[in-house]
């Protein structure tokens, strides 16, 4: 701990000594934002003011003189209500073409005695002409009202005769709530972007910069572990990202308040109505969010920076990262997207959404907790990957792309290459993006079709990577016929896991009530299909595809680089996360870990495939035939589990799982004496 702290101090000191960094991190937020915002408003004010009092000329023909004069009268009566001044000029119709261009607008009056028709010729691309037209339109409305009330007077009627119904809507939202809602969407994005700006430069400086300046080898001679090294760099950069973000927030908030204060000096009562207590309540939550976001964004950018050999290269890597993060943070601006059990799992997006919620004063504590917690978990995960990468001599002494074999030419890849950590992560991200875009696009038309596409993609991604890398599929995917003993062990372990899963799910649904309505609707469409088709798409295809991707490809690759423990942990967590639901995350991850362990011990993917198929079959059957199944296995269908059920499930599950583990452990010993 002491050494890490010494290193952190050193990193901070080093970053602070660099003037460029200071300028970007301090001067930009403190000076530039207010300058831009205030400058923009001043320019706009100036433009508005310069328009005010400006005079425009409108010409009209001499044909319907009475209407024209009446129109001018209306103008003179209501002159104060219009922002600009108008001068009217009568031009004989014959001269019109010759002098047309010297007037801002040309008015034709026509009347059939009942109704006056006003036609205005103007040039929309000419601002003067356009302003004149606007004013004329306003004037025409007033003219209309004037004539109307004259006519009503003649008949002895009031306006109530014409408008027997009036309508008024009253918004229950307080001023502070609506202000929060309208700025909330964009504040999230600004925050994320400023954090990125704050993280970038130091992130490049402490990783690539150290390589470029040749101090990395010196650092390696010091008696510190690689983990301490990367951790100290990470902490220092996150700190700077936080500081930049807080400074930016303050200066942004300050300049916005300044503007509001000056613009609404007279009518600021309403603004003042936003109780200070509300603001103060936001601060700790916003700070926590800032810290968590800074941790995540820093980790993310450092992951890319460690690969770069030079500043230029680092910049190239980080630009697309910035675009992706910016895009993700912009989703909060879409009004229909709200923080819920699903969106809370998506990094960056959830931060933006949470800020929107906080500012609109609709924060749900559970979701806020999940958002902060999950971003923290992602950060830890990325840091772990980062530490692993930083350990690698290839990154420290060579080009750094060893864990990304996918970027090599296929002809240069050796036969039997196993995908590296980078390749695996890249595949996961690509698959996720494909599912999010392609899968979602199809499922808008048909949920069933979407599921089909997703299953296809899950199979396609690993197979193409494995083809490109010329991997030995048989050993990577563990394609081996299992022994009877390990199959039995696997089955028992699965039964144990399954019962535990039910208990965990029951517990989680109680803590995190998730709206299941959407899911049920989507499910209905699937359940309406013939049973045989459901079995194929919902049970057989996932069993094959997901097992090959998560247990074969992901676990196989990770195990090779990082050992069985990390392989199981990471592959099952990713498996859980792929199901896009907080409640499902943990149970699904448990199931994934169970299958991965079975695959590891038995050396065969087929047991997992079969059990996965069986697992999905049960859940399909429960959905399609709940009554019939409920008669035999009541605990599958019950919404609330009683204490007796729980004990029964835990005991049976524990026994079965333990027996399965023993059988599987023995299996390994028998095979490798």
């Amino acid at each position: 701990m002491g050494k890490t702290w010494t290193l952190v101090k050193k990193e901070i000191f080093d970053i602070l000594r660099d003037k460029k960094t200071l300028v970007i991190m301090v001067a930009v937020p403190i000076l530039l934002y207010p300058a831009i915002i205030i400058g923009m408003v001043l320019v706009m004010n100036f433009m508005m003011q310069s328009r005010e009092g400006e005079s425009y000329t409108a010409a009209y023909g001499n044909e319907y003189r009475a209407e024209a004069l009446r129109f001018q009268e209306v103008y003179e009566e209501n002159q104060e209500e219009l922002d600009i001044q108008l001068t009217f000029q009568e031009v004989p119709e014959a001269e019109k073409e010759a002098v047309k261009d010297s007037y801002d607008a040309w008015i034709h009056f026509m009347t059939d005695g009942q109704r006056v028709h006003i036609e205005v010729e103007y040039t929309s691309t000419d601002p003067n002409s356009s302003y004149a037209e606007n004013a004329l339109q306003e004037l025409a409305d007033m003219y209309c009202k004037e004539l109307l009330s004259e006519k009503l007077d003649e008949k002895g009627l009031t306006e109530d005769f014409l408008y027997p119904v009036t309508y008024e809507a009253k918004d229950s939202v307080t001023v502070s709530e609506s202000a929060g809602m309208s700025i909330g969407g964009s504040i999230g994005m600004m925050l994320v972007v400023t954090i990125m700006l704050g993280a970038f430069y130091p992130a490049i400086d402490v990783t690539t910069g150290e390589k470029e300046r040749g101090t990395l080898e010196t650092l390696l001679t010091l008696p510190v572990t690689n983990f301490q090294m990367i951790m100290s760099k990470y902490l220092a950069v996150s700190l700077f990202a936080c500081i930049t973000a807080v400074l930016s927030l303050l200066s942004l908030g300050g300049s916005v308040l300044f503007l509001l204060g000056s613009a609404l000096a007279g009518a600021s009562e309403e603004i003042l109505h936003m109780e200070p207590a509300v603001f103060i309540g936001w601060i700790p939550i916003l700070l926590l969010v800032v810290i968590v976001t800074a941790l995540l964004v820093t980790a993310f950018s450092m992951c890319f920076c460690v690969f770069a050999k030079s500043f230029k290269e680092a910049n190239n890597y980080i630009t697309p990262v910035m675009l992706v993060v910016m895009f993700a943070s912009m989703t909060a601006m879409i009004p229909s997207i709200q923080l819920d059990g699903r969106t809370a799992l998506i990094p960056i997006v959830n931060v933006s959404l949470l800020i929107k919620q906080v500012l609109a004063q609709q924060m749900e504590l559970t979701l806020a907790g999940v958002t902060i917690g999950i971003n923290f978990c992602y950060s830890v995960l990325i840091i772990w990957v980062l530490a692993k990468m930083y350990n690698s001599e290839n990154i420290l002494f060579h080009d750094g792309f060893q864990s990304f074999r996918l970027f090599e030419k296929r002809s240069e890849i050796k036969k039997g290459t196993i995908p590296g950590t980078g390749d695996l992560l890249l595949s996961v991200v690509v698959l996720l993006l494909l599912i999010l875009y392609l899968g979602t696009a199809v499922s808008v038309r048909s949920t069933f079709g979407g599921t089909l596409v997703n299953q296809f993609l899950i199979l396609l991604v690993p197979l193409s990577v494995v083809w490109y890398m010329k991997s030995d599929v048989k050993s990577l995917f563990s394609l081996k016929i299992p022994s009877g003993k390990s199959a039995l062990g696997g089955l028992l372990l699965y039964i144990g896991t399954f019962l535990f899963m039910l208990v965990v799910t029951a517990a989680l649904t109680r803590i995190l009530p998730e709206s299941t309505q959407n899911v049920e609707q989507a499910f209905e469409e699937i359940l309406n299909q013939p049973f045989i088709l459901i079995v194929l798409v919902m049970t057989i295809m996932p069993a094959v595809g997901e097992e090959i991707f998560f247990r074969g490809f992901l676990f196989g690759g990770l195990r090779n680089r990082h050992g069985v423990f990390w392989g199981i942990l990471l592959s099952s967590l990713i498996f859980g996360a792929f199901h896009m639901s907080i409640v499902k995350l943990l149970p699904t991850a448990m199931l994934g870990a169970c299958f991965a362990y079975i695959g590891y011990r038995s050396g065969s993917i087929y047991i997992g495939m079969f059990l996965h198929f069986f697992n999905n079959l049960i859940s399909m059957a429960v959905s399609k035939y709940p009554e019939q199944l409920g008669r035999f296995l009541s605990f599958l269908v019950k919404k609330e589990l009683a204490g007796r059920d729980l004990i029964f499930m835990l005991v049976i599950g524990g026994l079965s799982g333990a027996l399965g583990l023993i059988l599987l452990k023995k299996e390994r010993r028998d095979r490798n004496p």
Binding site: T6, F13, G214, P223, E412
Partner: protein, 262 residues
């Protein structure tokens, strides 16, 4: 004492044949065993690409060997297992171990003192001692990026000395230095040897090695091709200087290599 036992390091390289290229693995260091005792200077000689730097990096704990091990003994004669502790016993200096340009020498040494676990007062005392011993008083507070090559070299020596290590590993320390700076380095190595420290160093300057080294390992293509005192090596090859011995050994080895390759 530092000892390498069957140390190997495997790398990958791209081989181009016309437009086609493929990757192949090769051993930069191939089963090297060597030993350096306290109170001696051991030289590692060999042409470029022989594997000297890789070997020294593994000995300095900067690189993990593909196979084999490095054994280190501390002051009390105990073998050390922990990599971080091992690093604490080694002073490693090469052309690539640059110092933080934005620090001053004094700041840098104080940072090292903290890191090597000196209590605050001792850290300061040690820093001042280093500045005095290496006569750096005049520029100790200037940023390192502003210093001359010779001054930086002295600062680098101070960096190595700071922890008072038992073993010095120096990778071509005199490369590209003027005569005065190179002499300072040579004096530094001799002093450490007299203090009973172990010094392991690689160089291209054979005359320097002939005078300085107690023992020499010559390596080529990752393997040791000759070892012994400068004198025994010259006797074995029947030559009058280390330079001639070097030529005769490497001519023999490369002809042999080509013969095997046919």
């Amino acid at each position: 004492m530092i000892e390498a036992i069957n140390l190997s390091k495997q790398f990958e390289r791209t081989v181009k044949q016309g437009r086609k290229s493929h990757k192949e693995e090769f051993l930069a260091v191939d089963q090297i065993s060597l030993k350096a005792e306290p109170g001696e200077i051991v030289g590692i000689l060999g042409p470029n690409g022989a594997g000297k730097t890789t070997l020294l990096r593994m000995l300095g704990m900067l690189m993990t060997p593909t196979s084999g091990q490095v054994r280190l003994m501390d002051r009390e004669g105990n073998f050390i297992d922990d990599i971080t502790q091992k690093k604490g016993l080694i002073g490693y200096l090469s052309g690539n171990t640059k110092l933080y340009p934005r620090f001053s020498i004094r700041e840098y040494l104080l940072f090292l003192g903290d890191l090597y676990g000196y209590p605050k007062k001792e850290g300061i005392a040690r820093t001042e001692e280093m500045i005095r011993v290496l006569a750096m008083e005049k520029f100790a507070d200037n940023r390192i990026e502003k210093l001359s090559t010779g001054q930086v070299q002295r600062a680098s020596i101070a960096r190595c000395l700071m922890a008072d290590p038992q073993i010095y590993i120096l990778d071509e320390p005199t490369l590209g230095l003027d005569i005065l700076s190179a002499d300072a380095i040579i004096r530094f190595m001799e002093e450490q040897k007299e203090k009973g420290k172990t010094v392991l160093y690689s160089t291209h300057y054979l005359e320097e090695a002939q005078i300085l080294c107690n023992r020499i390992y010559m390596i080529f293509q990752g393997r040791i091709v000759a070892e012994g005192t400068p004198l025994t090596i010259m006797e074995k090859t029947g030559t009058g200087s280390l330079r001639q011995a070097f030529h005769s050994i490497f001519e023999g080895v490369s002809q042999q290599g080509e013969g095997q390759g046919e």
